[in-house]
Symmetry: C2
Subunit: 205 residues, 2 copies
């Protein structure tokens, strides 16, 4: 078997979130597809060791935010490269909630689909959830990010050489908000996404 | 609910085939994703009224050929716009068989994955099959076709205006094989994919 053949399956990239008993979490996944009509059902597959998976088994509800082509690596790193077992990823973030009360991503996301689990199947490494779509909203006109886009365009490239130019502003790497000024206050938090100075990068004039 | 939001899910485009009791059939689908590791499992969703679905329920095996960016509309029309209930789509086509004896697409396809069904779930309009991957092969270096590519680039555009130029050859719309000469013999069949004169288009000099 040549596993490279299986890598040729096409996927999107999603932020999957849920909330149970006051605890909310989200993670990055690439497996979601519509599997039936009337009613519309989708299937998602989630790694069993994942905290979001654990919470969905208890809550029976989730939101899946469809990342778009403007999504940055920092957003994917935030949701995908740290575990909800260790940190509260939503702490302090001003996230809207869907019809079921599940927080979703309002930036870098072109749509959000709300699912209510109707079946779940343990497949060893992963659990497959089949869910009825209870709501779906377009969030922007941006094109959805594909997993191939992520590999080719979003994953970080080698850093550009340093420059002697002056800093004229700071860009939030999470949501692209721009702060004008050479010095970002140490206690600044982004008015759009709530992230702090460590998630800003300098803009050179 | 805004159904347009759900259209932002990203898919590939596939030719799904199976064989049972001497009867083989294939159809076009866009729903296949890996759902587990160790062993690797994939899930596919197929419309219940589809003849391929009927045959997979009996055979428990299938091949999924991953269409690539060179795929033509004619290939998709052949497998997707006619029903196995009415015609034998594989009759006379020189199709290779996978490890399970299922015919697959050796042109316009960058990979083929062979699945053995381990679970099936009737979801009303569709059946969801969960299958162990028993083999996978790369067929070319071409990039996989996405459903968005199909919508934007493969679906036919308005026809070009007629020309007075001479016909110098004929191109097979199925596999792009070129026959050199102004007249295609009436009993000609493509040496690559087996299709007849009705699937050739003129090349003007």
């Amino acid at each position: 078997m040549d596993k490279k053949a299986i890598y040729n399956l096409t996927y999107g990239v999603f932020m999957l979130s849920t909330k149970f008993d006051g605890k909310a979490n989200g993670c990055i996944t690439n497996t979601c597809m519509q599997v039936a009509n009337n009613p519309i059902r989708i299937a998602i597959s989630v790694i069993n060791s994942n905290y979001t998976c654990e919470l969905i088994k208890k809550s029976g509800i989730f939101a899946i935010s469809l990342l778009d082509k403007e999504c940055t690596f920092e957003t994917i790193k935030w949701w995908g490269f740290q575990s909800g077992h260790d940190v509260d990823k939503m702490d302090g973030l001003p996230m809207p909630e869907d019809i079921q009360g599940v927080p979703y991503l309002s930036y870098h996301s072109c749509a959000v689909i709300s699912g209510k689990v109707v079946e779940q199947h343990d497949l060893g490494s992963h659990t497959l959830f089949i869910a009825e779509v209870v709501d779906a909203k377009l969030l922007s006109d941006n094109e959805p990010l594909t997993y191939a886009d992520y590999q080719n365009n979003v994953k970080p490239k080698p850093e550009a050489p340093k420059t002697d130019k002056k800093i004229v502003g700071w860009r939030c790497k999470i949501c692209n908000y721009v702060y004008e000024g050479s010095e970002l206050p140490a206690d600044f938090s982004c008015p759009t996404c709530g992230h702090g100075p460590e998630d800003f990068e300098p803009i050179y004039g």
